[in-house]
């Protein structure tokens, strides 16, 4: 039987090529993601291990707030070092300082975008080489307030050399520093692509830390003292609020943190690999269904000769198993190549991946291959079942391969599956949270399957309507219209693959447009300022407070309201807490105060939204427990407001932020002009003041809206790019089905050519047929996707997505592109059809 299997596969290799290709592509993305994750993960593990090798213990504050993948601890008193120096086993102890510092390039623009890319860091230069993770490759250590050492990656991108004067942005006013040294980090030019400025300790404390304080201490053990003993000795004398961990534990923490960041990235890519495989499963199922249909007689003969149903079924499944193994193996190989591409992409995006060979972990490669194999096998199950059901008689009769595909059973089954899918999807959306993502994905997949089951019923009427304009133009369109829906089940299966990609594109298009509209709506409705200065920083970095001071001195400016972000846990929930200047807040943004007053906010109070208050049972005058990096504070509610889309569910005064969060960088500044001030003159004065701060870009509210929309558009572009793979697989499927149809219609094509159809007309007919199939898929996808988008927007209404937008132009573009992709998919089969020998068709044999 195995020999038959191989022979069948070889005989139908062209027909199954598309199935194989779709497996290869899906497996390649999955394997590529695995390999990249393994490689980058191993690289960072080694990196952190090598740079942490001299540190035997770390002393730091024992409490922290976490949020958005970062851990924030309060600094400790520098004087603790003197106390610890005499602890037995301590050979050397040094304080560490780390904070925001960003270089300004020769063109006056800031280098790096810490809000979106790798961080831009300022640190103190460790004087003991054992505690210094950096390696000087040029120059020397800093020993004066105006000197710094920079990483080699920044030196390269900025074109900085030893002796150059470089402007550095910190929480202080921009200042010029002389580059006295260039370092590398482990084997890389910079850690994770972060830019590095190393100052003397005093300078670092002044610019990026807190004078008289350190983030923590690194300790070197005396010879003969192991890390555990050292830590035990330190713990005996540590004051409350501080802790000591071994150097090994500190390294493990860093490794775990980098793995976590990587896991987010790989989950994201894997989701798209799964989508690609899901789309591929339609192509696989369809390819096998077609080969089974074309082999009806052959399979019938097998049955007539005594093969049992199970044997016929197994024969088809065996083909799928072999095809799946080969395609998965090729896919894994391609994935290793893809990993190199992805790595190059990461490097191009500014994330320095330490140079290193690819890490090929057998278990990752096997996992990707097995998934591809299982998907192939599962996709062939239904066609195999159908093959097994063929009775010897029907198979031997010369039956019309075309089955109507329409039946009450299909309607009921498809309706039921669709309903179940929508129900699961709906539950996931309503539930919210991380766990719900799985339900949403599963629900969407089941819905797709349900619609695919219904699609054969929809194909004839919808296909006819889609083809009507073509049919009206000429005979090639008329023929294409008829051929497009000639085999409803085949058309439906082919179109369903494209439906998935189009639906996902339509869904996120609707979602993104609604998100942007909601942002615009908030800004239009609630924001009153004349200018907004947005640093783009979200939790790290920001604008030096010196800028707000300077702007306040501009004559045309009546008021500057500062906004900062503090990492905190409000009643136990991690959040980025907004902090602002209460005095002018109401004049630049309207949060719809219901009770109390924003102006009453001070270092001991908080404002909360009505929805948060209702959910938590808070009332005006109650206290809310808020944990900052520095510790827990009970803040009194002095205002309750309705509009949570401006500043979230709660916010505090900058006075409180400075007291408990202790970071001084501003995220945004809202400016109001004096009444009667000339806006153009005011704008010029503001621009002059911000000129020295390249991360500060002044925008009016219209510009601010555009600025806020940009990250959404960038995300959208990335998702489109990743969905392209799924669409590509679907288009391969269309090309495949069209080629098979052309192959089946050899005689009909010969007839058409004999009675005077030109090659050009024949090609047009085939291409238009493929286009109709593609447009049918796009129509289904658009309907499902807009539905999903609508559901998603409605579900997130409470999260601030208040507006529903159906962006007609982008959705129309999707349909047009789908149609064009059909034309492209049909081009190959069209050429082959046009080359067919007329005589083969008309010869009466």
């Amino acid at each position: 039987m195995f020999k038959t299997t191989i022979r069948n596969l070889m005989a139908h290799r062209v027909r199954l090529l598309a199935a194989a290709l779709s497996v290869v592509l899906g497996v390649a993305l999955m394997a590529g993601t695995f390999v990249l994750t393994d490689t980058v993960g191993a690289a960072f593990d080694e990196l952190y291990a090598s740079v942490g090798v001299g540190t035997d213990a770390v002393v730091r504050a024992d409490h922290a707030v976490e949020g958005q993948g970062e851990v924030q601890r309060p600094p400790v008193d520098a004087a603790l070092a003197d106390q610890l120096r005499s602890v037995p086993g301590v050979a050397r102890i040094e304080g560490t300082v780390q904070g925001y510092a960003q270089f300004v390039g020769r063109d006056g623009k800031a280098i790096g975008r810490p809000g979106q890319g790798p961080p831009t860091l300022g640190l103190n230069w460790p004087s003991d080489p054992r505690l210094n993770p950096f390696t000087l490759v040029d120059g020397r250590a800093p020993d004066a307030p105006d000197q710094m050492v920079i990483d080699r990656a920044s030196a390269r991108t900025g074109g900085f050399a030893l002796g150059d004067t470089v402007t550095v942005l910190t929480k202080d006013a921009p200042r010029s520093m002389v580059v006295v040294g260039i370092v590398t980090f482990g084997g890389a030019d910079s850690p994770l692509g972060a830019s590095i400025a190393l100052f003397t300790t005093t300078t670092a404390q002044a610019l990026v830390g807190t004078p008289g304080r350190f983030d923590g201490f690194s300790v070197v053990a005396a010879p003969g003292t192991d890390q555990e003993t050292l830590v035990a000795n330190l713990r005996r004398v540590l004051p409350p609020g501080t802790e000591a961990i071994t150097g090994a534990a500190a390294t493990a923490e860093q490794q775990a943190a980098s793995r976590k960041g990587l896991a987010f990235f790989s989950t994201f890519l894997l989701a798209f690999a799964l989508i690609a495989m899901f789309v591929g499963s339609f192509i696989i199922a369809n390819s096998f269904a077609i080969t089974v249909a074309q082999r009806t007689r052959e399979l019938g003969l097998l049955r007539a000769l005594g093969a049992g149903r199970a044997q016929v079924r197994r024969a088809v499944l065996a083909e799928a198993a072999v095809l799946g193994s080969v395609a998965s193996a090729v896919g894994v190989g391609a994935g290793i190549g893809a990993a190199l591409g992805l790595e190059a992409l990461l490097n191009a995006a500014g994330f320095e991946v330490p140079a290193r060979g690819l890490v090929l972990q057998p278990r990752s490669l096997v996992a990707a291959g097995v998934v591809g194999w299982l998907v192939t096998l599962a996709s062939a199950l239904l066609p195999a079942r159908r093959a097994g059901r063929l009775s010897p008689v029907t198979a031997l009769r010369d039956v019309d391969l075309d089955s109507t595909g329409g039946s009450r059973r299909r309607l009921v089954l498809g309706g039921a599956v669709t309903t179940i899918g929508l129900a699961v999807l709906g539950r996931g959306l309503v539930a919210g949270g991380d766990a719900a993502a799985g339900a949403v994905g599963l629900g969407a997949a089941v819905t797709f399957v349900g619609v695919a089951v219904l699609a054969p019923l929809l194909a004839p009427p919808v296909g006819r309507v889609i083809g009507a304009p073509l049919a009206a133009i000429g005979i090639t369109g008329r023929l294409a219209q008829a051929n497009g829906v000639r085999n409803p089940r085949r058309t439906a299966a082919t179109a369903s693959a494209l439906m998935v990609g189009v639906a996902l594109v339509a869904c996120i298009t609707v979602f993104a447009a609604s998100g942007k509209a909601s942002l615009d709506r908030v800004i239009d409705d609630s924001f009153r300022s004349d200018l907004v200065i947005d640093s783009g920083a979200r939790g790290f970095g920001g604008l030096s407070p010196a800028l707000a001071t300077e702007l306040a001195r501009v004559p045309e400016v009546a008021e500057v309201v500062r906004v900062r972000l503090a990492r905190a846990e409000v009643a136990g929930a991690p959040t980025m807490l907004v902090a602002l200047d209460p005095a002018g807040a109401s004049r630049v943004a309207d949060v719809g105060v219901q009770q109390g007053a924003i102006e009453a906010l001070d270092a001991h109070s908080i404002a909360v939204s009505t929805s948060a208050a209702t959910a938590k049972g808070w009332h005006l005058g109650d206290t809310v427990p808020v944990t900052f990096a520095s510790g827990r504070q009970d803040l009194r509610i002095v205002a309750v407001y309705a509009n949570r889309n401006v500043a979230g569910d709660q916010f505090i005064a900058i006075a409180a932020q400075e007291a408990y969060d202790m970071r001084l960088l501003d995220a945004q500044l809202y400016l109001r002009y004096h009444p009667g001030a000339d806006p153009a003159a005011a704008r010029r004065a503001v621009d002059a003041a911000t000129a020295a701060y390249p991360t500060a870009s002044a925008q009016d509210l219209t510009g601010f809206k555009a600025e806020r929309a940009r990250p959404i558009d960038q995300m959208l572009a990335l998702i489109y790019a990743l969905l392209l793979l799924a669409v590509l697989i679907a288009v391969i499927g269309i090309a495949n089905t069209t080629a098979l149809s052309v192959h089946e219609r050899t005689r009909e094509i010969g007839l058409l050519r004999a009675v005077g159809m030109s090659r050009r007309q024949l090609r047009a007919t085939v291409r238009k047929e493929a286009m109709i199939v593609a447009l049918f898929g796009a129509t289904l996808g658009l309907a499902v996707g807009v539905g999903f988008g609508w559901a998603l927007v409605r579900a997130l209404a409470s999260q601030g997505i208040t507006e529903l937008r159906l962006p007609m132009a982008p959705l129309a573009v999707v349909v047009v592109l789908a149609g064009l992709s059909g034309l492209v998919a049909g081009a190959g089969p069209a050429r082959r059809g046009a080359r067919l020998d007329i005589l083969r068709a008309v010869r009466s044999d």
């Binding site: 008829a482 005689r747 009675v755 030109s758 007309q761």
Partner: protein, 262 residues
Amino acid sequence: MTLTTIVRPDADAAAAAVPASSAEAVMAIDARKTYGTGDAAVHALDGVTVGFGAGALTAIMGPSGSGKSTLLHCLAGLDTLTDGTVLLGGTDLGVLREKELTRVRRDRIGFVFQSFNLVPTLTAEENITLPLDLARRDVDQAWFDELVDVVGLRTRLGHRPAELSGGQQQRVAVARALVSRPEVVFADEPTGNLDSRAGAEVLALLRRAVREFGQTVVMVTHDAVAASYADRIVFLADGRTVGELIDPEPEAVLDQMKRISR
């Protein structure tokens, strides 16, 4: 009706001398078609020179492998000769490029095949007007109506081929072959798949097209009864013309066939 066709069993001798008579709708001059090379070469047509009179129904007969279908395909521009010339109303088909040949088939030739004559996805009406639609030419409604009445399919126009009987399908094919008023209609075993009654209907239709519309029809058949509908029969054997009959009777046809096959 004068039939001026000269039949020369040894036609290769004087092929080039045959003039393109205006009375010949289509003719082959020293037509040769060879498959394969060297010892394996098969001469499907071995120097055939024959003309087919305008306004006549001519049948080509011969045993299997005589080259009659190959001759028809070459006359109709579906296949090309290895050597020799096909003239369609004075046009040398051999020098035409693929595109021009397609246009000739579309505008100047009509076809009726043995089977699979119709596009299954198109209605009877659409099948009939197919050559005109391909040419983007307007349908002459009066002519179309007349044809539909002649073939007797008025009530079946909206039906698809699968909903028509074999005889009805062939009648639709005849109507399609005639709709563009071609110079020649080629029919390749048009009754081969039909029962005798349906076959007779189709043959009567072709006969009528010749009589009433002055249509030129060239038909390949191996059926003596079908051939007896013709004004003239050209006999082929081993890729050569081996005789002809004018206004044949079925008995005479059978006699001739027996002679050839011997």
